[in-house]
Amino acid sequence: MDILYIAVNILVFLLLAPLFEGVIRKITARVQSRQGPPVIQPYYDLLKLLGKQNLSAGTVVFKFAPMLALASILGVIVFLPLGYQANYLTKYADVITIIYLLTLGGVSVLLGALSSRNTYAAIGSSREMITMIMVEPVLAMTFILGAVKVKSMGIAASISSVTAGGYGASVIVMMAAYLMALQAFVGRQPFDIAEAEVEILEGPFIEYSGPNYALFKYYLILKQMFYAALFVIVFIPPFKTGWYGADVLIQMAFVLVVFIGIALMGATHPRLRIDQAQKFYAVLIAASLAAVGLSVYGI
């Protein structure tokens, strides 16, 4: 049974992530008084890209970077205790593994971008790198907050015990920091700085097209769903019904709510400049550190 849960994790993510992306696009369109594309448009986009000719900048790294990115995000997803069920693999890894794998995904984007030797990709990568370095601590602190409470770095233990003992000051601060970092995690306004279409034309991805780009796109929307799901799993208290399927569905309903929030936030903000964003991230890091500090004292 434990092994089956792994398959469920992957299937749920692969199938629903484009749908949530579609929800974002639809809501953005409604805010902008537009009709918007059908919610299932992202599936079409991916299929269409997969059917196109693969253009390469010629290096091996350029070709493998998208696969590495997709593989690493899938690697993260399998460990997730979806439906409050730890699966067969969860116990073999700890939160450090998750952080490493997430970073690996980001690094693949950088490698692919830099191997294309495009000026815009280079600017995009440097912005992406700054974003990664500055928002990752918020994620790490979230895990550590749980780890401090149960004195374990295990995934299931640390993730599910952040809210154990109720919503103290530390949890509230951490939750706020996470929510504010969410737009940066998923690369949406006001923090879509690395891709900034009108300045650097999608930055790191400028040279990508066809199936390679489809893999990156899939990576991005999976990553986006991962961060939204992680918020739900960590900060929303469990509604255990006893049926695994129902639990997963309830969680997905919450994820949808998080996505609506992301869409509204994105549609009502302009893009910040990287120097302005850095100041903002610094505040978030300080807040998340404070949250862990508070939790050590049991607040």
Binding site: Q32, S33, N54, I123, L201, P270
Partner: protein, 560 residues
């Protein structure tokens, strides 16, 4: 306040025989024939009187006295006077003193005539090619009468535009010729240190269509308005009005008052839709697409009305020499009033949202900063100047059409940055709505077209300015024989404003580049009026066409 007589006396007393003749065919225009050697001094004198440099006009006078003519036009904004300094140099040695060292905005005009007429300007700080394509052969000057309008000379080999040297330690980021920030082709080589802009070089005029030459050789007075309005994709009526006024002025002819009112309404309709368009684009450029979509939705109503009124979605085909082609019926008047009411209401909402949004302030305040003095020095115009404390507006300073009867405010702010241009443009839209309402209310009855009684005398000079949404448009016309202009020079507002952009970019972040270039509401098609230019993707390299082809093919194969 100076009167035209005082200007004449001052010039006469100070420069004596260097000022040969004055011509004053129209109350507010002064044409002075001056000696070539005193061009720079007298230009500075006019600037000293409070003059503002507009444009230079070069023309071929070889057939009549073997000279190339050059005119520097200035506006004395406080006194409602245009001063045009006319001079000439023999065609075998067409050298003039450059006025660019004192009046930097003349830089492009002078470069234009180096390219197009083969003039030389001693002391010009940057005598590079501006307009002609890189592969246009040396020694062929397209604006000279001897060159046919459709000449296609064999291209010169192995030539490429040499960008300015990048400052030490800087990377060059190519922006253009095709880039989402630029909605038309133009090329900025931006020199950045990290993400801070340290300089930039501009190579534009890639869509120069040779309109001036075409109209001077192929079309007639009455046909030109339809080409003039196609100079710009937005300000159609502006160019058509400005041209028509110049012809009417050269003919010494007045159109009916009702036609003047309708022109005023058309110009203000254009301002409303242009500013809404800009607001949307500006939102898009700072990554705020909701403003983009909402502003364009609000704008749509007036576009539909434009189609009803003129037969074109854009305000084309309405203004001709002698008046306007269509009347505004009482039904259309009511409909327009209704549309304005809706637009005003929705614009108030958008205005409030923008003023209350701190993140927009963060992206626009202190960005693209230049001082009021620099703005004056560079002779910038329109909302770009008014956002930097320069109180100029042709509608008020040199009234034309029915603006002498309109009551309106000219919004001026002194924040000296991009935010200022946002505020100025929004406030101007409200003013434009106000003007349309007044014009509709007080429009007198009468014919819309007036026929010319007699032919236009040749070699009459006329200069007119119209306040376009982007700033002031200047048209200079010398009437000719054969029922067409001898010389017609158009200066769109982007022409001076684009020259000020490098100063605005200096020291700002690369992420601010789109909104800074966007803040002047650049219109490259207006600025480029004459030849296709081919430059490489922007990297400084000397690839030949064949090499480029080989490389791109190899790249394609590698991906298979």
């Amino acid at each position: 306040m100076l009167t035209i007589e005082e200007v004449k006396t001052r010039l006469k007393n100070k420069y004596q025989s260097a000022v040969k003749k004055f011509e004053q065919p129209y109350g507010t225009r002064l044409y002075a024939d001056i000696d070539k050697s005193k061009v720079r001094e007298i230009s500075n004198e006019i600037i000293g009187m409070g003059g503002r440099y507009l444009v230079s006009v070069g023309y071929d006078n070889i057939a009549r006295d073997k000279t190339l003519g050059l005119i520097h036009a200035f506006s004395l904004d406080r006194d409602d006077i245009f001063v045009c300094l006319r001079t000439a140099a023999p065609v075998d040695n067409p050298t003039f003193d450059s006025i660019t060292p004192d009046i930097p905005n003349a830089g492009w005009s002078e470069r234009e005539y180096m390219d197009l007429l083969g003039m030389k300007f001693s002391g010009h700080p940057k005598p590079k090619r501006l307009i002609l394509a890189d592969d246009w052969p040396e020694g062929v000057y397209p604006l000279r009468k001897e060159v046919p309008w459709n000449l296609m000379p064999p291209p010169a080999e192995n030539v490429a535009y040499q960008l300015d040297e990048a400052p030490e330690g800087c990377t060059t980021i190519p922006v253009g010729p095709f880039h989402p920030t630029l909605h038309e082709p133009a090329h900025f080589a931006v020199y950045v240190d990290g993400e801070t802009i340290k300089g930039c070089d501009y190579r534009g005029f890639m869509v120069h269509r040779g309109l001036e030459k075409l109209c001077q050789t192929q079309l007639t007075y009455n046909e030109i308005p339809f080409v003039a309005e196609r100079i710009c994709g937005i300000c159609g009526s502006v160019h058509a009005t400005s041209y028509s006024q110049a012809v009417e002025m050269a003919a010494g002819f007045r159109i009916s008052r009702r036609a003047e009112f309708i022109r005023t309404i058309m110009l203000e309709i254009e301002r409303v839709h242009s500013h809404l368009l800009w607001l949307g684009v500006a939102g898009h450029l700072i990554g705020f697409d909701t403003i983009f979509m909402q502003a364009w939705r609000v704008r749509e109503a007036i576009m539909w009305f434009g189609e009803k009124l003129t037969g074109n979605r854009k305000t084309y085909g309405m203004i001709v020499v002698g008046g306007v082609r269509r009347d505004i019926s009482p039904e259309l008047k009511d409909e327009l009033l209704g549309i304005l009411k809706t637009i005003e209401k929705e614009l108030v909402t958008i205005h409030k949202a923008i003023v209350g949004d701190s993140s927009i302030h963060r992206r626009t305040k202190g960005v693209g900063r230049i001082t009021t003095d620099e703005t004056r020095l560079w002779s910038l115009v329109g909302p770009v100047a008014r956002a930097r404390g320069v109180d100029i507006d042709t509608r008020r300073d040199h009234p034309y059409a029915a603006y002498d009867e309109m009551r309106f405010d000219v919004p001026v702010v002194d924040s000296c940055d991009v935010w200022g241009t946002v505020v100025v443009r929004i406030l101007e839209t409200f003013e434009a709505i106000k003007i349309i309402r007044q014009a509709l209310d007080t429009m007198p009855a009468g014919p819309t077209m007036t026929e010319f009684a007699e032919d236009i005398k040749p070699y009459q000079h006329a200069i007119t300015a119209v306040e376009a949404p982007r700033g002031e448009v200047v048209h200079y016309l010398i009437s000719g024989e054969e029922n067409r202009p001898e010389r017609w020079r158009v200066r769109a507002p982007t022409y001076p404003n684009l020259q000020g952009v490098p100063a605005m970019l200096l020291g700002d972040q690369f992420a601010d580049l789109p909104i800074i270039i966007g803040s002047i509401d650049p219109c490259f098609s207006c600025t480029d009026r004459v030849v296709k230019v081919d430059i490489r993707s922007g990297r400084i390299s000397n690839l030949t066409g064949g090499e480029l082809e080989t490389i791109s093919r190899a790249k394609k194969l590698a991906g298979r």
